[in-house]
């Protein structure tokens, strides 16, 4: 949304904004905690409030056409897009393209955690969606793997919903998340955080029953009974579409190979926000996405 608004302000008249969900705002909608907008709006907002400020701007601009429930299934290097929406399959050609596709969570499978595969193992972001959007409580005794921000925030969220968070297990020697989240989400609720520990095994036939925690320094182990395991072990930029268009992708990070912010190996395709690289703060996503909108406008001027 920030890129679309910025592009329009920079003089672009014909903008199509495709969103696969039924509403604008993306993952911000499920981030009902505060901490958004301190830099950009100089205000401490929740995720939905932050998104709403942009939705209002978008709605006020006639040059931006919004298409919801629109799912891009193909992209070519000539910037021809094919997308599906209920009842329609559209093919369009863009002069410039801004990719703001965000990121996805690394999964249990990608970290190769051994053990069984019962119900009760969820990416932290899915658990967040279940609680904050759907009103569903996924579990009552929770162990969180990884001290990423979503994991930390979910530790507090589960606690506030009356569940017991048994521990946060971090394989590294320090947290991956923001210090403010460690303090406000764990320490304030006396939730133990184990550094240099890993989950060696998950047990349970139908539902998670317990996990085996291993100290990676001395190999000592202990068990934690629980019914839920949340995975918060990092984010991956979502770039399968530009990969389809043969944009050069760094295999390790799944981000585009790039020399300058928002740029990739194809002229006229700009990649911004968490799909360019994983950011800590939404304010910085906005800052660089505004730049992406301006860069796209500049690029279009150059074409004429």
């Amino acid at each position: 949304m920030a890129a679309a608004v910025a592009a329009q302000k920079a003089g672009v008249k014909d903008i199509l904004l495709l969103e696969r969900d039924q509403y604008l705002g993306g993952i911000l909608n499920q981030c009902i905690h505060t901490g958004f907008g301190l830099h950009h709006f100089k205000k401490d907002l929740t995720g939905p409030e932050y998104a709403d400020r942009f939705i209002k701007q978008i709605e006020a601009i006639r040059d931006i056409e919004v298409s919801l429930k629109s799912f891009v299934v193909r992209l070519t290097k000539d910037k021809i897009l094919t997308y599906l929406k209920p009842g329609k399959l559209e093919e369009i050609k863009a002069k410039a393209l801004i990719m703001a596709t965000g990121c996805r969570e690394r999964t249990r499978e990608m970290t190769h955690i051994s053990g069984t595969r019962p119900a009760g193992i969820y990416p932290a972001g899915l658990a967040q969606k279940m609680i904050n959007i759907e009103g569903l409580l996924p579990g009552k005794e929770v162990v969180i793997i990884g001290s990423g921000d979503i994991g930390l925030i979910m530790a507090r969220r589960f606690t506030l919903e009356g569940a017991k968070v048994k521990a946060v297990i971090e394989i590294q020697e320090k947290t991956r998340g923001l210090i403010r989240n460690v303090v406000q989400c764990l320490e304030d609720f006396s939730i133990p955080l184990y550094f240099r520990h890993r989950i060696a095994k998950i047990y349970g036939k139908d539902r998670v029953e317990k996990v085996l925690v291993e100290n990676t320094v001395n190999g000592e182990t202990f068990e934690l009974p629980c019914d839920t395991v949340l995975i918060s072990v990092g984010l991956i930029p979502e770039n399968e579409l530009i990969e389809m268009a043969c944009v050069e992708i760094d295999k390790k990070t799944n981000a585009p190979v790039s020399k300058e912010v928002n740029k990739c190996s194809i002229e006229g395709i700009f990649v911004c926000g968490n799909s360019y690289k994983v950011y800590d703060l939404v304010d910085n996503v906005t800052r660089d996405s505004v730049k992406a909108g301006q860069m796209a406008a500049e690029y279009l001027k150059g074409l004429k």
């Binding site: 799912f71 193909r74 094919t82 329609k88 499978e109 190769h112 069984t116 139908d206």
Partner: protein, 496 residues
């Protein structure tokens, strides 16, 4: 007794489903019993999906013969049922000249069994047809008739067709006892067996009893226990665990064939497998274990499989792995046990169906039909047997112009639920209409949740469709049956 059947088949895996479909050609009253929430949830769900050509089996074995026959039958039936079967061929590779003798032996043994088209291919051929293969591979045995199929969709479609032809399927029916009644005469009109089942909810069991003239025991890992219920205790099922690792669809063309090393006495080794969904798979391990429910994977398994697979295709990377699982092969000695039990007339054991069980299933079904005929059953063919089935639509394997047309009939083909595998709301609804009752059942049928994000995006979307279609609360939706509910509570007053 609730009802009496001519035949009760115990076990809704590929063996039971193939037998049910074959027998549904006849005027018989047939019941298929499965203890899990859905079919194929036992041994079959963790199958590699390879339709073996018939190599790597002892020449005088039952499995050797059934595998070769099954390969041909599978091809034919898959076509009738609209199941995707791809004849990709396989390569058994060797790394030095010394192993050539063994490779030629395998070729000779397979040819004796009737496997066609086998030939030894050299480095030059391999470089051209399998460019990612380790250049150190010396030669390979090429078997062009090897193929791939989705093991669970195969079971679902066989069973769906059987049901279409009159077979009654009972899920969550666990056989707890079999009683034999007085009459042992094979042509007796009355039921010889009373099959006692516990039904539904695992905690509050309600029991049901079904009568049968014939019982076919296709109970996989529990075939020994079922057989024991009629006093036949001369075999034991020992689980042999196999861990497998699935790679990202981006690596679909990692290999063009299924690639095997030289087989060991207990297993075919660590393979690089193509799957009909596109995602390559590596594995499986082979480890004798005691616990029939132990489906855990291990760090050692991962290490072993990666090592074995990378030896054949060095570019395989640990980061390509998007999923993994373990399955148990139900072994009972070296060969299959398929026989009528004269000590319990009317009882047929189909046990120890490990690899190549998936391939052999349709041939096993024919063999079982003959066993029934040889032991008193005189079935008459139905005047009409519906052998065809309409192919299930998957957006991921049809071209866009076809998708466009489909959307005119139903706009919800354009409503994408699973972003990684491109599965629409319509496909999920269809899967439920075809019998899916659990998230795993949806996954196996449609591939939704099976991609790289592992359900992070689509789980709640699918749950809502299920709640709507099945008219159940969200809290009752399970991963794979009772006890595996996804969420503990619903706090949303709008949908509670």
């Amino acid at each position: 007794m609730r009802a009496a059947y001519d035949i009760i088949i115990i076990g809704g895996g590929v063996t039971g489903a193939a037998i049910a479909r074959e027998l549904s050609r006849y005027k018989l009253k047939i019941a298929l019993l499965e203890k899990e929430a859905e079919l194929a949830f036992g041994v079959s769900k963790s199958n590699s999906g390879i339709i073996h050509p018939g190599t790597q089996n002892p020449p005088n074995s039952l499995k050797g013969r059934l595998c070769v026959q099954g390969n041909k039958l599978t091809k034919q039936i898959a076509k009738e049922l609209g199941v995707d079967f791809k004849e990709v061929g396989e390569l058994i590779v060797i790394f030095n000249q010394a192993d050539l003798t063994r490779l030629l032996e395998i070729k000779k043994e397979a040819e004796e069994l009737g496997v066609g088209g086998l030939r030894i291919v050299d480095r030059l051929w391999l470089r051209k047809h399998e460019p990612n293969l380790n250049p150190e591979v010396y030669a390979a045995l090429y078997a062009p008739t090897a193929g791939i199929i989705s093991p669970y969709r195969w079971v679902y479609d066989l069973a769906e067709n059987a049901a279409r032809n009159g077979v009654e399927i009972f899920l969550e029916h666990k056989v707890i006892d079999i009683r034999q009644s007085g009459s042992l005469r094979l042509n007796a009109a009355a039921s010889r067996f009373e099959v006692l089942c516990s039904q539904g909810n695992r905690e509050v069991n309600s029991q049901v009893s079904l009568g049968a003239k014939y019982i076919i025991n296709a109970a996989g890992l529990y075939a020994d226990e079922i057989s024991g219920m009629v006093g036949i205790n001369d075999f034991t099922i020992k689980p042999r665990k196999g861990e497998e690792f699935i790679l990202d669809k981006k690596r679909e063309y990692l290999s063009n064939h299924i690639i095997f090393p030289l087989p060991s006495p207990i297993s075919k080794g660590i393979l690089v497998i193509k799957t009909s969904d596109g995602n390559p798979m590596i594995g499986p391990t082979a480890q004798e274990i005691e616990d029939k429910e132990d489906l855990s994977t291990s760090d050692e398994g991962l290490k072993k499989v990666l090592e074995g697979a990378k030896r054949m295709i060095p570019s395989i990377d640990e980061n390509d792995i998007i999923s993994y699982f373990a399955g148990l092969r139900p072994t009972a000695g070296k060969d299959f046990i398929i026989r009528h039990e004269d000590k319990a007339p009317g009882f047929i054991n189909v046990a120890g169906i490990q690899s190549p069980g998936l391939t052999s299933a349709p041939a096993i079904a024919l063999m079982v039909t003959n066993l029934l005929k040889n032991n008193g059953l005189k079935p008459r063919k139905k005047w009409f047997f519906q052998k065809y089935r309409q192919r299930t639509i998957h957006l991921f394997d049809i071209p866009f112009n076809k998708t466009k047309e489909l959307m005119k009939e139903d706009p919800s083909y354009g409503e994408i639920v699973c972003r990684c595998e491109m599965v629409s709301a319509k496909e999920v609804r269809d899967a439920i209409k075809r019998g899916a009752r659990t998230l795993d059942g949806i996954k196996f049928r449609t591939r939704a949740q099976a991609g790289r994000c592992h359900g992070g995006f689509c789980t709640t979307r699918i749950m809502k469709i299920m709640a709507e279609e099945l008219n159940i609360p969200l809290t009752e939706i399970t991963k794979r049956g009772e006890g595996s509910e996804i969420v503990k509570e619903n706090r949303d007053s709008r949908t509670a």
